[in-house]
Amino acid sequence: MDLTKNIIPEEKFNNLILALFTLISVFIFWNGYNEYNDLSKVLNIESTSKLERLEFDTKYLKVSKAYLEDASNPKINYVTVLALESTPTDVTEEKVLESNFGFSKMTGLISHPSFLINDESESFWKSQIYLEFFYGFGSMLILCVFLIALLRINEKKQNRIFSKEIGKTFNYFTALLLLSFFLDMLIYGRLMIFLNETYYLGESITGGGSQLKLFIAAIFIFLGNVIQRGNTLQEEQDLTI
């Protein structure tokens, strides 16, 4: 076996990686579609059957649907907020559930504060849950599309890292990362504003947004800068006969 030669020809290898990322994107899309159906099933309270208990997790929330026996309104939906810093002491949904349904033990109500989805708050919770859901899957899809674009450009530019197009792609991705950071903060802020107004929790509205994203964005800004500077050297190198 000749180890000096590529086991898979470079062109075939590039196509293989491209096909792999395309497959991953399709898988993410398909998974997102299934998750969306699951979420809709959880949110559609009428479909709850006896003894059935459904849950769905997003970044800041856990949506649960439960069927309670011997209660006037046996089918309920509640949301457990995973992002709260403190547990509210006076107005807990646990107490609301206790008084309304005579039901004290419900998973998720002790570790994190949970809130009933009632007619008044239903539209807010649904929009918040869908926002978090689409934000999560959208981010993953965009990441895959970015990687596919990067691979295609790299292939077109004959594996040259220092090209204007790759520099631009890095800059676009940095902008997307920053946008995603602020979007995350907005989604979190929206949730906290609602909770503060409705339940007087006094939670900070600026706690959202992953610091890791900011860190990665900073690295990408640096890399984008290096690529753009390297592009000048690359052009000179290309025009040296």
Binding site: E235, E236, L239, T240, I241
Partner: protein
Amino acid sequence: MAIIVNLDVMLAKRKMSLTELSEQVGVTMSNLSILKTGKAKAIRFSTLEAICEVLDCQPGDILEYSSNIQ
């Protein structure tokens, strides 16, 4: 650029085509075209040596400095 490449003149003098030169020097046609049209930023000594050897000329026959051109 103030350096003028007179490769086409030398090729005409030697009655040689760019394709022939490319084959004999071992530089691709596209790179020789870049050199011929004056788009090249630099030329390696090894390339210059090979071109001079094939065209039987001096580097000064191929490259010329002109202060009028910026």
